[in-house]
Amino acid sequence: MLEIRALTVGHGAGPVLHGVDLTVAAGTVHAVLGHNGAGKSTLVHAVVGLLHPTAGSVELAGQPLTGRGAHRVARAGVGLVPQGRRVFARLTVAEHLALARPPRGRSSRFPRPGPADGDTANGTGTGTGTGTGTGWTVEQVLALLPRLAQRLGHRGAQLSGGEQQMLALARALLGGPRVLLLDEPTEGLAPAVAEQVLGLVRRLAGEGLAVLLTAPQPRLALTVADELTVLTTGRVTAAFPGPAARRDPAALLAALAPAPALTTADPAPGAGLPPRSRMSPPGPPG
């Protein structure tokens, strides 16, 4: 479903990711692991079009996403739960939900999987993602995250951290995505809720979504992922099929533990000029 090839991208000053390859098949969960600053969020942002790659390509079901504006990527069916929630501070929860559902005008150019008619879904989800789904309804999402139902009148800025995280998730679901990008979705969630969210992730995959999930802690990722990729300072340094990784996590943890060269508090060799010249450039002005 989602194909990332030789992706090289940065934040203006030099690349952060170096030729990253990664594929997320429909109906699978692909976890990206890596230390803080490894480049996970950068990868996610590049996929949704908030960053523009200097090289490489991103494809969604064959159609290229690279170079498209973020809004067009989103319309193509890519849902995002950004790191740090980034809910709209001055919009109420209700308004978030109303906005997140695409307007009738923007017809779905693809089947929108809804929730399977399970414990939480009292609305009529379309079950398997193959049909002409209408995506999630507000009722279904609220049933899934009841906390939000109690906070409909709150503004984004008035929500607790976890509530914000839930809202971000709801926002993504209501868009009715084909591909879901979750950047550390469980951060700040109480264990019970985190558990529940991961369960949801599995189920969504079961309904045909392609899920890309980043996490700092292998523990959580291991429980849900079909594929795991380890990112170290912007390069893919290891990849495991989920089952294998579950069987012996040791290999994964080993891959995660950084190479000795990287353990010092000092910049990697040649990691740029010393700070003085970074901060105050050479040569008198004028």
Binding site: H11, G34, H35, N36, G37, S41, Q83, G84, R85, N122, V138, E139, Q140, L142, A143, L145, P146, R147, A149, Q150, R151, L152, G153, H154, R155, A157, Q158, L159, S160, G161, G162, E163, Q165, M166, E184, E187, G188, L189, A190, P191, A192, V193, A194, E195, Q196, P216, Q217, P218, L256, A257, A265, D266, P267, P275, R278, M279
Partner: protein, 296 residues
């Protein structure tokens, strides 16, 4: 360096360092925190856990003075600080981290930390020393930064000390956030210090927090129970703004009610009326905006 610093007033073991009595905070009809009574002794590491929206961050905000209580009284180090301003409490040694990192983006990580530590220089430098309030002389500011760089190193953030905070990854920002709070050498409050950290980072954080001087106390909010178990001596469980349970990590972990609302299978909040019928708005779902802290 941290060890080298003696606290001006040695703690009096008789009195708890931090005492909350029936503290509460309402937002319109919603009681974010209600009738919380809490004692934290000097040197104690106290964890506050609870489901999302239980009122943990609000509780920290109340202690730190970011939000004023609508009921109850707060004592710190023997003084009543219920109505004291945020800045004043900070100078008494209460330092908080924000659940969402709050850093000045254009300043380097180091400067962010140094600026946070600055007001505490007064307490730090032994009495009669030069005023810490305004570090006019660059020399003194440099000295402060030396210490802060070390602080950053301890939490493992030295490698990007000189990078503008705006250019850091989320996790990196969280590290700086915690370092900023630690650098004041305060008696401390932390909101989810380990959230979004990788395993080794979390370990390192643990080590740093363990090494805090015994004169200070630690009130920490955390969802990572492994972390809590490894660090906290006392745990308070909040639910719907009220204290649900308290005790050692072991005791709390065993408590069935805690399992039910927090750990166990059921979703947090699903026990509360109104949440079972999705979409229906419970009374506390409408909130006067005028009471938002950022507007105060």
């Amino acid at each position: 360096m941290t060890a080298a610093w003696q606290h001006p007033a040695p703690p009096d073991p008789a009195r708890p360092l931090l005492a909350l009595d029936g503290v509460g905070r309402r937002y319109g009809p919603l009681a974010a925190v209600a009738e919380v009574t809490l004692r934290v002794g000097a040197g104690e590491r106290h964890a506050v856990i609870g489901p999302n929206g239980a009122g943990k961050s609000t509780l920290l905000a109340l202690i730190a003075g970011t939000v004023r209580p609508s009921a109850g009284r707060i004592h710190f180090a023997g003084r009543e600080v219920t109505t004291a301003g945020e800045a004043r409490r900070a100078r008494l040694g209460i330092a908080r981290t924000f659940q969402q990192p709050a850093l000045a983006d254009s300043l380097s990580a180091l400067d962010n930390v140094a600026l946070a530590a600055w007001p505490h220089e007064r307490r730090a430098t032994d009495r009669g020393g030069p005023r810490g309030g305004g570090l006019w002389r660059p020399a003194r500011y440099r000295a402060l930064r030396t210490r802060c760089l070390d602080q950053l190193a301890q939490v493992g953030a030295a490698s990007f000390a000189d990078r503008p905070a705006g250019e850091l990854s989320h996790g990196q920002r969280r590290l700086v956030e915690v370092a900023a709070a630690l650098a004041g050498r305060p008696r401390l409050l932390l909101d989810e210090p380990a959230a979004g950290l990788t395993e080794p980072q979390a370990q390192r954080m643990l080590a740093v927090l363990r090494r805090l001087p015994a004169v200070g106390a630690l009130v920490l909010v955390e969802h990572d129970l492994a972390f809590v178990g490894a660090l906290a001596q006392q745990v308070t469980v909040l639910h719907e703004g009220r204290t649900l349970a308290g005790g050692t990590p072991a005791e709390v972990g065993a408590d069935p009610r805690v399992r039910e609302v927090y750990l166990g299978g059921a979703a947090s909040g699903s026990t509360t009326p109104g949440s079972t019928t999705p979409g229906s708005t419970t009374p506390d779902s409408t909130t006067p905006d005028s009471t938002t802290p950022e507007r105060e």
